[in-house]
């Protein structure tokens, strides 16, 4: 599925009249829970759709009413600003309504289980529940309990599939492929859902993935699972096409996994000195929030190789694609979303 880039003459057009792309015939999934269980083909469809929708909505100030009349519920049991706002904006850009729910001051504080809370929100009539929770597997449990689509916006240290997808979309926009690329994920792999989603997604599409960080945060078992493990950033720098710098999640430690931030930064911070040893076209990524001076120095974060803000922009595209595909799969055969606004029934 390809859409030609919009030219200047359409910029001021009434976007509600824009022809939506055809619904991918191979899409069946109603939930986006993790990338480990998706096929390479499914991931490619998600990325293609994100690219199409990004181009479709680029520069516009109006909504494309692809998902008009539908409602997204953000059900966040952990703090988040960027992911939650990104999902909300993605929904609104496609004409859907959003409702916000966060655990502070809610019925969760009154002792309700997260499943009951989710069922209550669903009973209000929503099409997607976007959920973030501190415990792995909570979106999977919700997917079994709810009728609507469930999208995982981060479950503990397990997965954060839209983050993985937006990282991949950013890489593909710059490199056009994954085959033959070496991508290093650097930092707190143990506690990182972003790392896991990137690892599965990138590997399925053919990239070579290195996980790099202190031995206490990068298990040797990743090698048994087919990933390269490295503990010295300096040793791998010259081989990498992409460096994705993960935040150290201090809040999750019971005992300190390295002696000091000072020592960590000395071994793993991406700085100007290390940049000079990288390939000339290296991409520097970070899922954020970034800790300047810990995993990345300002000259790198704000330098010419950094695509950190492009990642944020791509986040909306990826989430638009996810919302459209999931709800499209759940009304399969009803000719609803698929034929909405004159689109072809798949």
């Amino acid at each position: 599925m390809t859409t030609s880039p919009r030219d200047a003459t359409t910029l001021d057009a009434d976007l509600t009249g824009i022809e939506p792309p055809p619904f991918p015939t191979n899409w069946r999934k109603r939930h986006l829970l993790d990338l480990e269980s998706l096929t390479a083909e499914e991931i490619t469809t998600l990325l293609d759709t994100a690219q199409t929708l990004k181009e479709l909505t680029a520069g516009c100030r109006r909504k494309v009413s692809l998902l008009g009349g539908r409602t997204l519920a953000n059900l966040f049991f952990e703090n988040s600003t960027r992911t939650r706002n990104s999902f909300s904006l993605a929904a609104k850009r496609l004409g859907a309504d959003t409702v916000e729910f966060s655990s502070a001051g809610s019925s969760v504080a009154k002792g309700e289980t997260f499943i009951d809370t989710a069922k209550t929100i669903q009973a209000m009539g929503v099409d997607w529940v976007v959920t973030r929770h501190g415990t792995p597997g909570t979106p999977h449990l919700l997917a079994r309990e709810l009728e609507c689509c469930v999208l995982n916006a981060g479950d503990g240290a397990h997965e954060h599939p839209t983050q993985g997808l937006l990282d991949m979309l950013t890489i593909r926009q710059h490199r056009g492929r994954f085959d033959g690329l070496t991508v290093a994920l650097v930092g707190d792999i143990a506690h990182s859902r972003t790392a896991r989603s990137n690892m599965w997604g990138l590997r399925k599409l053919g990239a070579h993935v290195i996980v790099c960080g202190p031995a206490t945060l990068v298990s040797p078992r990743w090698e048994e699972l087919g990933f390269e493990v490295a503990h010295s950033l300096d040793d791998i720098l010259d081989r990498c096409d992409v460096l994705n710098l993960l935040r150290i999640q201090f809040e999750r430690f019971s005992s300190r996994p390295f002696p000091s931030v000072h020592e960590y930064a000395n071994r793993y911070a991406m700085n100007g000195r290390r940049m000079r040893r990288c390939k000339s076209d290296i991409l520097i990524m970070a899922p954020g929030p970034i800790n300047r001076g810990v995993e990345i120095t300002p000259e790198v974060a704000d330098g010419p190789h950094s695509v950190i803000l492009e990642q944020v922009t791509n986040g909306i595209a990826v989430r638009m694609a996810a919302l459209w595909l999931m709800v499209g799969a759940s009304v399969a055969g009803e000719g609803d979303v698929r034929s909405h606004q004159g689109g072809e029934d798949a």
Partner: protein, 441 residues
């Protein structure tokens, strides 16, 4: 506990390793005791219950080394009455009940309370494992001598591990005066911070906090060393790791009297089950990887592991209906243990029925110091009759237990308890009531 009507069990296969018995035969129970093996027609009373055990195994009743019956204070999980019903449905004629109720059973009055409620439950014989430490806090010894006097037959803070080595050493020493065993669930508490499953490849992929095998291995190493140093009676269990098996095998070969047990769920399912994120697989000890399972099965078969205990740890549905961090460890296992072990070990050809009865009846009785686990004439008439080949599918919704969470829900198994007889009284049967009331002679 004696029923006035004698019971004749006919046509069965008598299996009792304590009596070197594994052959067809008939068994007469009278006045709460085993009256005769292969009685002559003259010895059989005119009026008696007649049980046709054709095709079935007739064995000494199963003995469990540690169940939680949550009463008093945690009745939402299990009461002594529902736990007792579950036990006899699982073929158990004696269960040792842990003192982790609320308040914990750390006083003679607590032991007395449990014994009184148990007497009215019409289930298995229920014996008390009292708390090892005051308030189950793991700091000071409870009044062990007075607890023995009140009827406690073992001590343990399980399921809480005994983290305090000085406490464990003192208690092992002190209990030599009473010849009473201490049961420890071997876990080094410093190494299991927030863990919810076996630490390994699966926990790594799922991002779940792990329970490392070394947390168990270290505790077993400490436990057996303290047993050796004090000469006290120690039972470690349930164990779940290759490291534990290795350590226990080595100390046994040096002649140190330490015993060990495993739970059926650790012989069957692996940590892969946690990929479902279903809290019914959040059990303790945790489901480990295939390598550990194979080693445990071999250790049960060769006797390095002495006993199999159900690991019955009931928890209310509202507690289990939660994510893996919040849901408590636990499952109802009394009603499935025999079938799971028979399917996994006996039908798979790893051990015989006689060995199964030894691990689930004879040895547990010896470890607990009870006159059970035998079909000797004069012994208490505690008998379990098992159809070894009956296939069935485990359905936790049908459990007698107050807890309907099971790691084996939906599993297909073979072997089922047909009768459970406690002190000469039929406490459980799957047959219509009138069928065994035939009068012989």
């Amino acid at each position: 506990m004696s029923d006035s009507t004698p019971i004749l069990i006919d046509n069965g296969r008598l299996v009792s390793p304590a009596d070197a018995l594994d052959r067809p035969g008939r068994l007469l129970l009278r006045r709460g005791r085993i009256e005769a093996i292969d009685p002559s027609d003259d010895e059989i009373p005119e009026y008696c219950h007649h049980i046709d055990a054709a095709g079935c195994i007739v064995a000494p009743g199963l003995v469990d080394l540690g169940v939680e019956f949550r009463e008093p204070g945690r009745e939402e999980d299990e009461t002594i009455r529902t736990g007792a019903a579950a036990a006899v449905a699982g073929g158990y004629t004696t269960v040792l009940c842990l003192g982790n109720s609320d308040p914990p059973i750390d006083t003679p009055a607590g032991v007395e309370l449990v014994r009184r409620i148990a007497d009215g439950a019409a289930g298995p014989r229920i014996r008390v494992i009292a708390c090892l430490s005051e308030q189950r806090r793991g700091e000071q010894m409870a009044e062990l001598g007075l607890l023995v006097k009140a009827g406690a037959i073992a001590f343990s803070d399980s399921p809480r591990p005994t983290g305090n080595s000085a406490l464990l050493k003192s208690a092992l020493d002190y209990c030599r005066m009473f010849d009473i065993p201490i049961f420890d669930r071997p876990v080094d508490p410093d190494l299991v911070n927030r863990g919810v499953m076996h630490e390994g490849r699966v926990s790594l992929v799922l991002g779940l906090a792990g329970l490392p095998t070394e947390a168990e291995d270290l505790a077993v190493a400490r436990d057996v060393r303290l047993a050796e140093a004090t000469g006290g009676r120690l039972h470690v269990g349930p164990v779940s790791t290759m490291g534990s098996v290795d350590l226990i095998g080595r100390v046994k070969s040096r002649g140190i009297s330490v015993t060990a047990s495993v739970c059926p769920h650790n012989l069957w399912h692996s940590d892969e089950m946690l990929r479902s994120f279903d809290s019914r697989f959040k059990v303790h000890p945790p489901l480990r990887s295939e390598r550990h399972i194979e080693m445990l099965c071999a250790a049960v078969a060769d006797g390095t592991i002495d006993a199999i205990q159900s690991g019955h740890m009931p928890r209310a549905r509202e507690k289990k209906m939660n994510d893996l961090d919040l849901a408590p460890f636990g499952a109802a296992t009394l009603e499935t243990s025999l079938a799971v072990v028979a399917t996994r070990l006996v039908h798979a050809g790893l051990m015989s029925w006689s060995q199964l009865i030894e691990r689930m009846s004879t040895k547990p009785a010896i470890i607990a110091g009870l006159p059970a686990g035998t079909l000797t004439v004069g012994a208490p008439a505690d008998v379990t009759i098992i159809d070894p080949d009956q296939p069935w599918t485990i359905d936790a919704a049908q459990f007698y237990s107050g807890c309907q969470s099971s790691p084996h829900d939906g599993d297909s198994v073979r072997a089922r308890v047909i009768y459970t007889i406690v002190g000469g009284e039929i406490r459980y049967t799957r047959r219509p009531a009138l069928e065994h009331l035939a009068i012989v002679n």
